[in-house]
Assembly symmetry: C2
Homo-oligomer: 287 residues x 2
């Protein structure tokens, strides 16, 4: 018996990880109006689909994926194509989520893969993460014609917003599901909104004002790796003021930078870690 | 003051991770005569420099590296170029080793990078790991003319030999120093010999006979991910017999395969894990 594959466009599903619906491309991370507000590098990075995922429920025994990438460069020298440009499938098992299959990006712009097959019968909830350092023009999921396929109902909980650097965006995760905002989202079973901008998480006022439009359970501010101590001293108080004015009750988590792995021998790196942290603590103390 | 960089070819240093000196290429992992003995894929993979490293002692404040790669493909879709084709620098700190710098492979065949600079004064012991899934024709280290540069004396301890699959060879480590034989080598402060052959760690008799030529502290046999239960049942007893006959006192560690991350839902994968392990335990029980 042949069972035709029926394709479902991801835009018909419940998409998580988008802070705004008024985006230029469907899978952009900032609203269209941000193009004239934020610096060009931030705008360009906002078109990467980091942290965006789709949830669906199906009794399928096989799942196919098609996705069309925006940028021809599928990998970075220190990050594999699977993380930069791949799609990553998880399934809910009891109270947790488990990894099920990775879609290898082999060509530009279009890819089609069989993410899993031979699954035992049963209706399950799935989640597909999109590329971390590439953008997508379109994504579809394919299941056999006989299988059910429905959007999972939206969550009733507020999301967690992460604003940060390349590390937040997902550098250098092997798969889209293994960057820390995605891992934490599964652990907390909450939507997360990834506003990591590689090299460009700089606590800028225009980003602070965009963040203030959101209504999350928590703001995670994790910009120190992209900032000097002077920048932190200048910008952190204003960022916090803007968020606090808009969201008086929302917790704001100020994250210190990671210690550079080789800071024990590179005194300039150790000093950068030390001075940025001191500036952030000072900003907090003076609130 | 200009301080010229003096280049030192790695072949003048104490090289670790080579089981044989009678190799065709200096950085090959099997002896030249193996070309006519082992299957072609094993021979080709043996020319990747996985696990080979060089130890040196220097009072330099900067370290440059030049390396010439054998294969044009610098990365794999699921493994970054840094791990596949990079060089990776560690430094001894007290009783442990710490990471210091990665050489990004940017071009084929030749690369030159500054691995670290601005180090505080002091004589230190360093270790440079070579690419995991590429081979090298030549490698040189550069230090300022005024710096000392010497081979670290060879260790007096026996090495640990790892025979296995892609996982042993280093898939999919981000850097050459982060595959598990390298990590264990630093933890144990011993030389390790990486005889991982991606997709081709199959407990073959000809490899067993080559392994028997070595005189390690421990044989780690980690082939199950590349074998069926029938192959394990057929080959494990002979492999162990050959090693035991040649090295009556040397411990042999039989490693079970890792559970496939998605085996909880893919029954065929769970069954493969189960049956291979049963065959290995049976072989052990019947020794």
């Amino acid at each position: 018996m042949t069972d035709n594959v029926i394709w479902h466009d991801l835009t018909t599903l419940n998409i998580e990880g988008k802070g705004w619906t008024d985006t230029r491309g469907f899978y952009d991370r900032l609203p269209a109006r941000a193009e004239k507000i934020v610096r060009d590098p931030v705008w360009n990075l906002s078109r990467d689909s980091a942290g965006i995922c789709a949830r669906f429920t199906s009794d399928t025994t096989a799942i196919h994926a098609r996705w069309s990438l925006r940028k021809e460069s599928l990998a970075m020298v220190h990050m594999p194509a699977t993380g930069v440009s791949g799609v990553d499938l998880y399934v809910r098992v009891g109270y947790t989520w488990r990894w099920l299959g990775i879609g290898h990006p082999a060509t530009f712009p279009d890819n089609e893969v069989l993410l899993c097959t031979g699954l035992p019968e049963g209706t399950r909830e799935y989640m597909l993460y999109l590329p971390l350092y590439n953008g997508v023009r379109s994504v579809s999921l394919g299941v056999p014609e006989s299988a059910s396929f429905e959007a999972t109902p939206p969550r009733t909980t507020q999301p967690v917003v992460f604003y940060g650097t390349s590390i937040t965006q997902g550098g250098c995760a092997s798969r889209p599901g293994t960057c820390h905002p995605a891992v934490l989202g599964r652990m907390l079973d909450r939507a997360t909104i990834n506003l990591g901008f590689s090299g460009n998480g700089k606590m800028e006022k225009e980003i602070a004002e965009l963040l203030a439009e959101l209504d999350p359970a928590l703001y995670v501010i994790d910009c120190l790796p992209n900032m000097t101590a002077d920048e932190v001293a200048e910008r952190a108080p204003e960022l916090i003021r803007i968020l606090r004015a808009a969201r008086p009750q929302t917790p704001i988590l100020l994250v210190e930078d990671r210690t550079y792995s080789n800071a024990f021998l590179h005194q300039d790196r150790a000093e950068r870690n030390r001075s940025s942290r001191a500036a952030l603590r000072q900003a907090f103390a003076e609130l």
